[in-house]
């Protein structure tokens, strides 16, 4: 449970950091390698199969699939990151406050808060993620940003629950008792003592939130809720691919592989984080 701070200084940390850094660099420089303009349409080149000129073929507007894939990574990543940030910025405080148990005499006026928040997390958790995403879309309409918000909202409860469980463990630790004994107020106990000590679980929750945000936002785009379909993003490309997969399967296969790979990498990073946290105790 106390693996949080140690995590940052651990020897293998650089490898994970390097992997993430390498991925970010990859996404930043990828468009430079695009052989064509991802938006350039060429009606005569509609649905060309993969060839030397178009490595991954062309789509229904004759746009180069490889170029769209390389450009679309950034947009896809941005949507997933916005979603994950939203889920984390609401889910972490929610989970931590739900784990809070007011010490006797202090914060007693707020003692009803944690159980209310726990019920709230339970209620949100009872609604399947994609359904919650669709409710959000019903409310705010479709488009890239709404898709990001919808995917983010659907991950709030899973994040909050992970943090709640971790926080509950941290808050019964001797150092919390010690901090209270020397007169630290409850806000300080929560955010200066408990929060840094669950850094490992926060990292694991972040990876999880990112993976599911990526999968769910692409799912919403795939269902045709992503709005502006001209701009390249992998979910929108899957949507294009779905319309034409009988005659031109290459349009949808490439972005599908890209999403699978990215989730796989995130899953590997996340698995290492969790196993080490449990092992490092």
């Amino acid at each position: 449970m106390n693996g949080g701070l140690a995590l940052i200084s651990q020897r293998r940390m650089p490898w994970r950091a390097l992997t993430i850094l390498a991925l970010i660099v990859l996404f930043v420089i990828a468009p430079a390698f695009a052989p064509y303009d991802p938006m350039a349409t060429a009606p005569t080149d509609q649905f060309l199969p993969p060839s030397a000129a178009h490595w991954l073929g062309t789509d229904q507007f004759g746009r180069d699939v490889l170029s769209r894939l390389l450009h679309g990574g950034q947009r896809t990543l941005a949507i997933a990151l916005i979603a994950a940030l939203l889920a984390l910025s609401v889910g972490i405080p929610l989970g931590l406050l739900a784990a809070w148990q007011p010490a006797s005499g202090r914060g007693a006026a707020l003692s009803w808060l944690p159980s209310l928040l726990n019920s709230l997390i339970e209620a949100l958790f009872a609604i399947p993620g994609l359904l919650l995403g669709l409710v959000t879309i019903t409310l705010i309409g479709s488009g890239p940003l709404p898709v990001a918000i919808a995917a983010g909202i659907s991950q709030i409860a899973p994040v909050a629950r992970l943090i709640q469980v971790a926080g509950r463990g941290a808050l019964i630790s001797p150092y919390v008792e010690a901090a209270r004994a020397i007169g630290a107020d409850e806000a300080r106990v929560l955010f200066r003592h408990a929060l840094p000590n669950i850094a490992g679980q926060i990292a694991a929750a972040s990876v999880l939130a990112f993976s599911y945000s990526l999968l769910n936002s692409a799912a919403l785009s795939f269902l045709g809720l992503g709005g502006a379909l001209g701009d390249p993003d992998w979910g929108a490309m899957l949507y294009d691919g779905r319309q034409a997969f009988r005659i031109a399967p290459w349009v949808g296969i490439a972005p599908g592989i890209a999403i699978t790979l990215m989730v796989w990498v995130a899953d590997r990073l996340g698995t290492r984080l969790t196993t080490r946290n449990n092992g490092g105790g």
Partner: protein, 306 residues
């Protein structure tokens, strides 16, 4: 048993909270937005006024909420904004296809998941790595990709199976396989973790040292303690499936709750969205409760500790 009764009561409270959340979230829609939709759908002003009155939309929010809770207690989920059809009726029409897909894909998921998880935890060498890699793949590959791929291979190229629709058994095979294999990832990982944890327990060593048969050791001392975690995972997935497999139903052009929800979302028919979400939340909460009861039946420690 006292603990389980308390759990049941908490479940009712959770359901009430979920329904309330959805009710007020969807009331954030500006009232005039509803009007525009009805006008766009070609309704006359008289029809609109009539529909609004029938739905109680001319009442203040508090009155609407009280009515909503009251009808929820009698099992009434309201009616569609666009067609006026009762939502219970609409859901009932679609639930058959969703249950069919849920049962079939869960059968695939449980079989493949437990097999892969067991191989990944108990296998050796190549078998173990292979099972682990397959689990990582099915967890990462989204249905909207594998589904399209499956239709391309088995329908477009090989011509073996129909790509969609519902009614015949052959139309169920592809969606059940695609969705089932994806869900086997979660069941597989839980099985793997649970078995890997129990296999090294001292009581397993003792059982072996006593000279018990390998099969007995495995079934009684390894598999049984791992069961609660696996049952829990299966229960959660069953519940999510009954809430509607939006993506799978769309790809394979199947009727079902998921498709219903997607259509309602696109048309902003919010009473239908609300009804389906409450249905899905009910299924999840009831399933969690059933899982708790089942686990308590399987694991005597929990019965006493409850």
């Amino acid at each position: 048993m006292n603990g389980l009764a308390r759990r049941a009561l908490a479940a009712v409270f959770t359901l009430w909270l979920a329904a309330t959340l959805v009710f007020f979230a969807l009331r954030l829609l500006p009232g005039d937005g509803l009007l525009t939709q009805l006008i766009e759908s070609g309704a006359s002003p008289a029809t609109i006024a009539e529909r609004r009155a029938a739905l109680g939309l001319d009442q203040p929010a508090a009155v609407q909420y009280a009515r909503f809770l009251g009808s929820l207690l009698t099992g009434d989920l309201g009616s569609s904004l666009l067609t006026g059809q009762p939502i219970v009726e609409i859901v009932a029409q679609q639930v058959g296809a969703t249950v069919e897909l849920a049962v079939a894909s869960l059968a695939v998921a449980v079989t493949a998941g437990i097999a892969l998880g067991a191989l990944a935890a108990l296998g050796t060498g190549l078998v173990r790595s292979l099972a682990d890699a397959v689990l990582a793949f099915v967890l990462s590959a989204p249905v909207y990709w594998t589904g399209t791929l499956a239709i391309f291979v088995f329908t477009a190229q090989l011509g073996l199976l129909p790509s969609g629709g519902a009614g015949r058994l052959s139309q169920l095979i592809l969606p059940a396989l695609v969705l089932g294999l994806q869900l086997s990832g979660g069941i597989g990982r839980v099985t793997q973790a649970a078995l890997a944890e129990t296999i090294y327990q001292p009581h397993v060593q003792t059982a072996r040292a006593k000279g018990l048969r390998r099969a007995t050791v495995f079934l009684q001392h390894v598999a049984r303690p791992a069961l609660p975690a696996i049952i829990g995972q299966i229960g959660i997935q069953a519940a999510f499936l009954l809430g509607g497999a939006v993506v799978t139903e769309s790809i394979f052009s199947r009727p079902g709750i998921g498709r219903l929800l997607l259509d309602a979302t696109l048309r902003q028919d919010y009473p239908v969205v609300q009804g389906i979400v409450i249905w899905a939340a009910t299924v999840v909460i009831v399933a969690n409760l059933l899982v708790d009861f089942t686990i308590a039946a399987v694991d005597p420690r929990l019965r006493e500790g409850a």
